[in-house]
Amino acid sequence: MPDLPVSADTALIRARGLTKRFGEFTAVDAIDFDVARGESFGFLGPNGAGKTSTMRMIGCVSPITEGELEVLGQDPRADGPRIRSRIGVVPQQDTLDTELTVRENLVIYGRYFGMSRAECGRRADELLEFTQLTERANDPVEPLSGGMKRRLTIARALINEPDLLLLDEPTTGLDPQARHLLWDRLYRLKQRGVTLVLTTHYMDEAEQLCDRLVVMDKARIVAEGSPRELIERYSTREVTELRFAVGVQDSLDGQLDGLAERVELLPDRVLLYADDGEAAVAAAHQRGLRPETVLVRRSSLEDVFLRLTGRSLIE
């Protein structure tokens, strides 16, 4: 298959006014973004924000309703199969073939791209090594742990040496250890220059993996930048979390005013946004406030999201 006409300086993905509607419901509402080659780009947002719909349009399996979309310099409407031959997809839900072994899953997937059997076998062995599944090569898929299945799905998405890897919530439902192993593998891919586009509703995941991200809420992009830029722009350096005894928080009324640049009342705690967290704690004590627990931490994307939407990412 001839290479697609993508030069180093053009965007791998370019979206302008990209819109997806299902009947009356607007899943993606006129969003603009660019993803450059070699970049690791994230869509951060709560469930239902339109992340998966956007990913499916980029993956050329869901037609766009309105606007413009270019993937690898091509139009998904006209060149879907050709674009799909150059991308790798890790879907949100596992779509592994449980009637086949671990290795067979990789080999047949290579065949879908028209690769020779020998080539498929060679790539499969390499990828099993890379995802640390070599020992399970001839096992059935079903007894694998969730983390192993995800790794196998990632290996499968890499069989065609894609220019672009799309990952839809790659670590949802995994335990912390499995997540860290997966992040490590994705980080290695990034180091090799593979362009990653991922969706997540985990702030730590976005901070770990994304060079740049957009925050999506209710089908729209509400902010864009690197994790650090977003935190600087929409939050303070530090955040102080105060937890009060049950019932106390509701009776605080104006007592928190002016303690910090911004004060956020959550159902179970109070957040004080101030560059100097300890100073905010001292000020609270001076006013006679006696929280049960106090935590001063660095600001995170969660705080950015809260600021932008007034809601927690994961409710």
Binding site: T52, R56, S62, P81, P91, T95, Y112, G114
Partner: protein, 261 residues
């Protein structure tokens, strides 16, 4: 065309796990049926002059076997176009995984239909071999009974696959078998001539795709096709038209399902 063969390759790879058991049952099924119905029941039927007259001078085994060939193809086709389609679209979602590659929804439909053709060819060939062993084939034209049975099966497989793609649970498959496949199996001229049905019901049997398949298969097995070639052609035309319409419908429902995600 070339892309579609990759889908066939997957189905063959999946089949490798169970092919021994599958081939054995494809052999045992006709053996048991022809023994019990053709030989066992047939011995009684053949003693009755009236029955022999109704069957046009044939033994019951000769009458039954080609009908059963077509009916077996129908049953196998119905099975192959329900559960495997639901597995690919809903349970394991491997068709969605394929769609993320250069493979198109149409390739996925065509690949699966070609795989069903291959399976039906295997089943019909084994069945025909058993018929010959039982001496139930009067004409060498029975060889053409194999493609006739495959065509009959595909007249069921294509619309049922299209229907399966619209379902998210297998509940309605029971209805397909209970109210579709089983009555057709019993009342399409497989076990007795439809002329034995009440005159008012007979035209309903003509609507059954299986009846066309049974008539075609029987005309080939008995060598009577030369007496009414146009009628045989009409049966082929009816079955082929259903296959074309069913395939077109399956293109639509499978694509709609894959695009929706």
């Amino acid at each position: 065309m070339a892309v579609m063969t990759r889908v066939v390759e997957l189905r063959a790879m999946q089949y490798r796990r169970t092919f021994r058991a599958s081939l054995i049952s494809s052999f045992l099924n006709p053996v048991l049926f022809l023994l019990a119905m053709g030989v066992g029941l047939g011995t009684y039927v053949d003693r009755s002059g009236a029955a022999t007259q109704a069957l046009g001078g044939l033994t019951y085994l000769q009458f039954l076997a080609p009908g059963l060939l077509a009916a077996t193809a129908m049953q196998a086709a119905a099975f192959e176009s329900t559960f495997p389609i639901m597995a690919g679209l809903t349970w394991q979602r491997v068709f969605h995984a394929m769609y993320a590659t250069p493979i198109s929804p149409r390739d996925i439909v065509m690949g699966n239909l070609v795989w069903i053709v291959i399976r039906l060819t295997m089943i019909a060939a084994i069945f025909t071999g058993v018929m010959v062993l039982f001496g139930a084939a009067a004409s060498p034209l029975i060889v053409l009974g194999i493609p006739a049975a495959v065509l009959t099966g595909m007249a069921f497989a294509t619309p049922i696959a299209a229907f399966s793609a619209t379902q998210r649970t297998p509940e309605k498959f029971n209805a397909v078998f209970r109210f579709g496949i089983t009555p057709l199996f019993l009342f399409s001229g497989t076990f007795f001539p439809i002329s034995n049905l009440p005159a008012t019901i007979q035209p309903i049997a003509w609507l059954s795709p299986l009846w066309h398949g049974v008539e075609l298969s029987r005309a080939l097995a008995l060598g009577t096709i030369s007496q009414a070639p146009l009628l045989a052609l009409a049966h082929v035309a009816v079955l082929a038209a259903i296959v074309v319409a069913g395939t077109w419908w399956a293109f639509r429902t499978v694509e709609a399902r894959l695009v929706r995600g």
